[in-house]
Subunit: 261 residues, 3 copies
């Protein structure tokens, strides 16, 4: 791999050496995937969601990953407490607003959690980022329906930029091209494969992997770019070996594990 990947390789080496604890409060569908992806990269995943222990757990962690895919009030209380404690302890938070815009409850939870603590990184697809931005009165989610995908993508990047400035978070939009948005600064990752959209939880896995990088790299924009690039590169390798989404999943974990630094 050429020069541009040197800083990525450097971070992967750091993850493997330090094996940072990544505390995940995530959804039921992807817990196994994200734990395995974190282990394959070299990090140490822990899943714990109860109000009774999240504050103690997150203080041991190098990063906190919060993913609202399968919400309920008890879990939201655990997420809120964990995010507060992480912020106080200086533990970087990575936030995944799964399904933002789908239901009023989901929007209310995103608003509440994001007003309570500042994530280092927020990662979602275009429509999720538009919905989160709209919750802060930013962007113009409602008007974007029905427009062509280029305009939609432009609108999402604009909303991400406004959201990034408002929250002082790096905002990642996943898609065929990933946009890593830090205020007005926009970086892109073009690596990846359409097969990644045919496996559940690849977006959630990207969020978790952002957590592993954020645990070893103090620059959230660099951490996010490295995470998305690693996902894309390993996705490309796995796609070459896979005959469908089932074999792709195993090959993807193998590629993460075998990534040469």
């Amino acid at each position: 791999m050429e020069q541009p990947y040197e800083s990525l390789r450097c971070d992967v080496a750091a993850i493997r050496e330090r094996s940072p604890l990544v505390h995940n409060i995530t959804n039921f569908v992807v817990m196994n995937n994200t734990a395995n992806a974190l282990l394959a990269v070299g990090a140490s995943p822990v899943m714990a969601h109860a109000e009774e222990e999240v504050e103690d757990m997150v203080r041991l962690a190098g990063a906190l990953v919060v993913n609202v895919g399968t919400l309920s009030p008890e879990w939201v209380r655990g997420m809120e407490r964990a995010m507060h404690a992480a912020q106080e302890a200086g533990v970087p938070i990575v936030y995944d607003p799964v399904g933002a815009g789908a239901t009023p409850y989901r929007n209310a939870v995103n608003d509440r959690l994001l007003r309570g603590a500042r994530p280092a990184i927020i990662r979602g697809n275009g429509s999720e980022i538009l919905a989160v931005a709209a919750g802060f009165g930013l962007g113009a989610a409602a008007q974007t329906k029905g427009v062509d995908s280029t305009a939609r993508s432009d609108a999402a990047v604009a909303a991400a930029s406004a959201l990034s400035e408002h929250l002082q978070s790096v905002v990642v939009i996943s898609g065929p091209t990933d946009y890593i948005v830090n205020g007005s600064e926009i970086r892109e990752n073009g690596h990846g494969t359409p097969m990644m959209a045919r496996v559940t939880g690849m977006g959630c896995t990207a969020t978790a992997v952002c957590g592993a990088f954020a645990a070893v790299n103090g620059d959230p924009a660099a951490a996010a770019l490295h995470a998305m690039t690693l996902m894309g590169l390993c996705g490309e390798q796995a796609a070459m070996r896979a005959e469908g989404p089932g074999s792709f999943q195993a090959a993807f974990l193998d590629a993460l594990y075998r990534f040469e630094v």
Copy 2:
């Protein structure tokens, strides 16, 4: 593939073209499997269980899949609300009474949910269908213990037929031969492989795939027959490539994805 599969292929093409949203309230064990199977077929899975949002979510969906494998009161409340809202909105419901008959609580939940809303399709194994029918005073579950499997299978089909007429639902009994029972009309699927019983959640996956077909085919009996046939055909293909239940799972998802229409 020959002529009889033309209507199956037609439905699969429709699922891939329309990518219907299938709203799942299902058990913790199989969420990942069923989401991946739905994606591999071409549908869009969403998992959401909280009372606070299930009504909003199900109104966006082409089908609702309810599976009581890992029950608790909060989840039952979410299921009940979702089923009511689905019925009002004309969204077809597919119901999986996992473990029916095992505990009084499980039976009480099945009775409550099935009296509250009418599923388009109910899918279970023979003993589950017998237990559900017994809850409505149909069939004779208690007497079937200890009889040989042919008699048991006959009793299950008879109970399914009575249940189907009582609830006006299509009832599917899974097994070496699947029976798709619509009142007095009984269709069979003989495709499949014993390996499917050695992987957790293949029955739950069949239920979820019924949801994908019900979202594009207004005839629940045809939708259920197509779903069970597709499961069986893909199971047969996967078994030829697998060396055990681990490799079977990946090969099965690959087969669903590669199924030619």
Copy 3:
């Protein structure tokens, strides 16, 4: 396979013949893995956690597996009730104190559950066993930090021995060498592969597999030794076929299924 494995093979044959029901109350991350491992060995897994039904369910089971990986108060109440009912009914309990020592809540739960009912087998890694023992005033967990791994391993075995005598449970310490501790009697399993530490839930799977053996073998020390040995042997076979942790998982389940008796 040579002579020493004859009693292991005998137990595996018994599991396949009787297909004992193993009732699991386990964590969200590993439910799918452990259900599939139990099916691959030949047992019948069931997952049920609600207070409303665990007592009825556990009475049908050949073993109860309790794993506190993703705790919350409702689940702890279900675990407590299931353990009481199992003890009354003479159903062997296998207990996995995941993450013991990480948070005060986790320690409090382990203390409460282990004072309420006596497991036949407790399985954890060295630091988890040290933390559980410390909760009973046994061993000297606090002093072991920073010591080299041999001393730490010795300390864990000493703590396991004290815990085993105190609770009258067999205590298993997993690691590169597994120690099966029954009071002052210590047996070892050296089979295994470092790849097992790169897949989430292999420890939890070992605990669940202990449940399958405990259901057919009335000697908990033998059951635990057989379970750990089978895990190690199948891990070694899978490692030879795997290119990373993704392909390892499938190969491991295949190996469990194909294990020759």
